[in-house]
Symmetry: C2
Subunit: 208 residues, 2 copies
């Protein structure tokens, strides 16, 4: 049982992880919270507070061991699990996600695609075959899928979520703009691209 | 000058807005914070606190006027501006965004596309012509673009941001996984799809 950690802290961990990977590639061995903060535009105090949530990291006045901190964050985020994704709905967004290279660098891989459109079932995107929805249980079993990604229209999303849960996925990443109901033991993260755009609109309006 | 409002509150406003639109379509005239909370899986206390930040809304024991609240949130978010977007980088993600229907429902429209690939310049996505990067200033002027959307690789993103700022955009929505430097008067929102996926990984690992 882990202690409660704020969503905001969890959301910053992938940013730390990504920056530490860049820093490691630059062959830097130690990094201060000042330098990490400068690269991310986050205050050093915030960084020290976030990392302290997970235990003792780094040495006062010296900094953090880059490799050690990167590995610790990777473990906290569970990236060592090398999660396997299935995308349901191979429209524009689903196709874009199937090709999104940054997932691979975090250890995620897309291993299965599904669509209800018979005209594209059997074809491939980025070397991954598109399957019919009726094949979901079988393909998710055989491809050892962990995470179901929902990129179908809102009206079809709950049906797809039910199928994914029945097929045995351990988590759901939902892009459909609708509240989904899944069993409490299945973590669900909703992604909504209009949220970021609306926040930008808010900041642009505030400056006028 | 607006007072400081937390990013978390700003991020919830589009969710309220979207739900109020659905509720309005259902011809409901008054909604309680309980009902709004049930639909969004947010506590009624959180909703009342968020809305109180912006002034007096609703009536105790009765609820919120759906149409009035929707309009107020739209104004707070600046959605009445009907912002016009240009997408730079028409790969998988840029193409998906050009087709993302939910933007239109919030008043955003994609009016211009740019790509450096000469093979696709001149062709159309969703009825919008793809222009060369060299045409940016002219097209952004004539199409009255407000927001530049960056969907190029990280290595090209700062150059594109500089060009967009020089061409006169008022805000930038960045999908490239890199920290961009823009003048302080230009609001910048970074979108990072790995953040949501990493949060899901965290929650899935915590339950094992």
């Amino acid at each position: 049982m882990k202690k409660m950690i704020s969503q905001a802290t969890i959301d910053r961990l992938p940013l730390y992880f990504r920056t530490l990977r860049v820093v490691e590639d630059e062959e830097m061995e130690i990094i201060s919270s000042d330098e990490l903060g400068r690269r991310l535009d986050i205050t050093p105090e915030q960084i020290r507070k976030d990392l302290a949530t997970f235990g003792q990291f780094g040495r006062k006045g010296i900094g953090y061991d880059v490799h050690e901190l990167k590995e610790r964050i990777s473990n906290i985020l569970g990236l060592q699990n090398k999660w396997r994704l299935a995308i349901v709905g191979v429209g524009h967004l689903g196709g874009a996600l199937a090709n999104y290279v940054n997932f691979a660098s975090l250890g995620f891989s897309v291993v299965a695609l599904f669509d209800k459109n018979k005209n594209i079932v059997g074809s491939e995107v980025n070397g991954i075959k598109i399957n019919a929805l009726t094949q979901m249980k079988r393909v998710i079993d055989s491809a050892a899928v962990d995470i179901g990604v929902i990129t179908v229209p809102a009206s079809e999303a709950q049906g797809v979520a039910d199928k994914l849960v029945a097929a045995g996925v351990k988590g759901i990443w939902n892009f459909a703009p609708i509240k989904l109901f899944v069993p409490p033991e299945i973590p669900l993260v909703n992604e909504d691209l209009s949220v970021g755009l609306s926040a930008l609109s808010y900041h642009m309006s505030s400056r006028e």
